[in-house]
């Protein structure tokens, strides 16, 4: 039973009006080198199949999946492989990357047109998705073909397209829904072919009534009876996987379960459209939409970007800065990564580049916890963040796990709401990393 909402959550300033009405603009000709980190998904890094000096074409596979939970990478320009070396990525790490010097010719390989979707076998669909290099483009980057291969596909009741885009400032999914609703809906119906007993749900927050209307119309026009549009309450983190499943189906999973355990598969808008491109058109994942926004950007915009393009170029293309930025975030303000250098590549999971003239975090003055309980009120994981942060600071792993610390989804609501400006999410996050590392060792 759909509940349309969940307990907890917050309503931060949305900031979507900055870029909401800007149509997707193709940033076609990157000036600098293109950088492809071999690890831009969860799982084993891809392994390079080109060498320094090789000439590559658009759509040529340059790295193949390094295992089952992995994903191949394709060139997005034609040019020469300049180097295969560690390059800095958004997290600040140096990751082994293929660097391609753009020859400016934009020569492409011939893409072979796959068979009609209706005659494709399930394995063939999964294989096309796998070979298309499709990963979860909402941020986590989990390889989509793995997600779509649960142990018992017949037990999947719902395939949910996550159209909520609950992160403030982000409008890339919104623009996709407005501009390419058929691709989204058809992509979802392709995924539904894998699950005979499933219904498709397009889950949209109710702050996007135009999307709801357009998607409903598209579903009706295409006469797809298995797909419905569900309007959810606008609240962050409505798009968090567990909260989304609960809001749309009333089923709840905890951190040790997979969506498939509740009979659900969840995919983000851009991922579903990439599935469409891979299966219907035979095109691998080469582009993504990046919202370049924030109060420092002269002309906030939604770019369609060749993966591998440097962020710095996107800022210039958006008119540069009108104010000195204090903080630049790759992704949304709630879960994105703050970057100290804009010369990092756009990857499969880059959703936005947010340039803020005021960094709330560095100006905030952390004071003592007054036990106000606001973090408890807003926590979608229904834990007690202030206590978990205390356990984390005391490095008390036992108490932390006993108090359900592992159920935290790191959404950031507690840090956002805390009047004492404590770094709750950060403390809990580090503790979770330590415990997960311990578990791996065992």
């Amino acid at each position: 039973m759909a509940r349309f909402t969940f307990r907890g959550g917050i309503h931060p300033y949305e900031g979507k009006e900055l870029s909401k009405d800007k149509p997707i603009r193709l940033y076609e000709e990157p000036k600098g080198d293109l950088v492809y980190p071999l690890s831009q998904h969860i799982g084993a890094p891809a392994s390079a199949i080109v060498e320094k000096g090789d000439h590559v074409l658009i759509g040529q596979k340059i790295a193949e999946a390094g295992g089952f939970v992995s994903s191949p990478i394709y060139a997005t320009v034609s040019g020469t492989v300049k180097a295969i070396e560690p390059r800095r990525v958004i997290t600040g790490d140096n990751v082994m990357s293929i660097v391609i010097e753009n020859d400016g010719q934009y020569e492409s390989v011939e893409f072979s047109q796959p068979k009609a979707v209706e005659v494709l076998l399930k394995e063939e669909i999964i294989n096309l998705i796998k070979e298309g290099g499709v990963v979860g483009m909402g941020g986590a980057g989990f390889p989509t073909h793995v997600k779509l291969s649960p142990k018992e596909p017949d037990k999947i009741d719902y395939v949910i397209a996550n159209c909520s885009e609950c992160e403030p400032y982000l409008t890339s999914d919104y623009r996709k829904m407005i501009e390419e609703p058929e691709k989204l809906v058809e992509g979802l119906s392709i995924i539904l072919r894998l699950f005979d007993n499933a219904r498709g749900i397009l889950a949209v927050e109710d702050n996007k009534p135009d999307c709801i209307q357009i998607l409903k119309k598209t579903v009706k026009d295409l006469n797809l009876e298995r797909i419905s549009v569900v309007s959810l309450k606008t609240k962050y983190p409505q798009g968090a996987e567990r909260q989304l499943i609960f809001a749309t189906t009333g089923r709840a999973i905890n951190s040790s379960m997979l969506p498939a355990d509740a009979g659900c598969v969840v995919n983000n808008v851009d991922t579903v459209i990439s599935v469409y491109n891979a299966v219907k058109l035979g095109r691998p994942l080469m582009h993504r939409i990046v919202t370049v926004t924030g109060d420092c950007i002269k002309d906030p915009v939604n770019f369609k970007v060749r993966i591998g393009t440097s962020y710095a170029e996107l800022i210039d293309e958006a008119g540069g800065f009108v104010k000195e930025p204090e903080k630049i975030v790759s992704g949304g303000p709630m879960m994105g990564f703050a970057i100290f250098d804009t010369n990092v590549p756009c990857t499969k999971t880059s959703s936005a580049l947010l340039c803020l003239s005021h960094d709330d975090v560095s100006h905030a003055n952390e004071t003592a916890c007054i036990n106000c309980g606001r973090c408890v009120e807003v926590c979608p994981g229904r834990v007690v963040p202030s206590r978990l942060a205390d356990y984390a600071q005391h490095k008390d792993k036992e108490a932390f796990e006993k108090a359900n610390g592992m159920e935290c989804c790191e959404c950031g609501c507690c840090s956002y709401i805390c009047p004492a400006k404590r770094q709750l999410t950060q403390s809990i996050k580090s503790m979770r990393r330590m415990i997960l590392a311990d578990r791996k060792k065992k």
């Binding site: 307990r7 709840a252 408890v376 229904r382 956002y416 400006k421």
Partner: protein, 322 residues
């Protein structure tokens, strides 16, 4: 553009609400009761309020200086403690007792236990109870120019009649800030509107106390059944119990003190009920007419236990619906 940007862990945006904003909103919410107290009891009450607040703030500042820590007076919590303590003092208390109480509240109850957020007992109430025990003569004498003789609650205890209308307005004897139900509720509404407090604790507190009074109070069910009363319900008595003494001030401003109430939702309901029962016990079966201060302080001590048993279930483990 700078060479390096600010980096930090997510989230990168923060709400505007800060601890000091919360504290100052409590001060504002206490203003109606404060102003009413000054109008009713005169300039001496204003002096007591000023001295108590001033001493509380100054004590915290000096303590921070002596212990070589950054001063924490700007967060406004010392001001709240001072004001709450002043509102809980009789209008004609000697100034030195007020000063003594403020120092005790800040140093002994709050700072020695670690300062803001660490005290296990409400500092204002802790100090009030300390003063009641140490200076009973001054602390229980509510005589002033406007009102002499026992407070309405004391009259009730002796089975005498009171004017409930005057009690709701606040035109009775009592401590500086507790008398006017209207002024207190006005301030409480402001805090509820701001989202600083909610009705969970005050609601359960007042409700459970009312139930207790209906059952055990004068003309209540139990006296009726045992034959010591001829009627089983007395509305005037109930209303007088609800508007008398420190119940309203305690329920809305002291029982809701963040630091000393349970952080869990279920725990807050439970805590409210516990306070209602304790207050009823002290008022009806205890030797004195009042009971709110002791009830809340005793409740404070049980908070860790309440929290232990009311920890919420996590999402996906049964907690998603509650």
């Amino acid at each position: 553009m700078k060479d390096m940007m600010q980096v930090s862990s997510n989230p990168h945006v923060r709400s505007r609400v800060t601890t000091s904003m919360i504290m100052y909103s409590v001060v504002i919410a206490l203003l109606p009761a404060t102003v009413f107290g000054i109008i009713q009891f005169g300039w001496y009450a204003a002096l007591i309020i000023a001295v108590t607040v001033g001493t509380a703030v100054l004590t915290e500042h000096l303590f921070c200086l002596i212990s070589k820590k950054p001063s924490t007076v700007k967060d406004g919590s010392a001001m709240v403690t001072g004001l709450l303590l002043a509102l809980n003092l009789p209008p004609h208390i000697p100034v030195w007792i007020a000063i003594f109480g403020a120092v005790f509240a800040i140093v002994v109850v709050k700072l020695l236990f670690g300062g803001l957020g660490q005290n296990f007992m409400n500092p204002a109430l802790g100090a009030r109870c300390f003063l009641v025990i140490s200076f009973a003569k001054y602390m229980t004498n509510f005589d002033c120019d406007a009102f002499t003789g026992p407070t309405p609650l004391a009259l009730l205890k002796d089975g005498e009649c009171v004017n409930v209308f005057n009690m709701v307005l606040g035109k009775t004897g009592g401590t500086i800030g507790e008398t006017s139900v209207i002024a207190i509720v006005l301030g409480a509404c402001f805090l509820i509107w701001l989202g600083v407090i909610d009705l969970r604790i005050p609601g359960m507190y007042i409700l459970s106390f009312a139930v207790f009074v209906v059952i055990f109070g004068q003309n209540g069910l139990v006296p009726y059944l045992t034959g010591s009363s001829s009627s089983f319900f007395n509305l005037t008595y109930l209303c007088a119990q609800l508007s008398g003494g420190g119940l309203m001030l305690g329920a809305f401003f002291m029982a809701t003190d963040y630091t000393t109430r349970p952080i869990t939702k279920k725990g807050q309901y439970l805590y409210g009920i516990l306070l209602g029962i304790l207050t009823g016990l002290f008022r009806i079966f205890g030797p004195g007419a009042e009971g709110v201060s002791y009830a809340i302080i005793l409740g404070n001590l049980v908070v860790p236990l309440i929290e232990k048993f009311t920890m919420p279930k996590a999402f996906g483990k049964g907690g998603e619906k509650a």
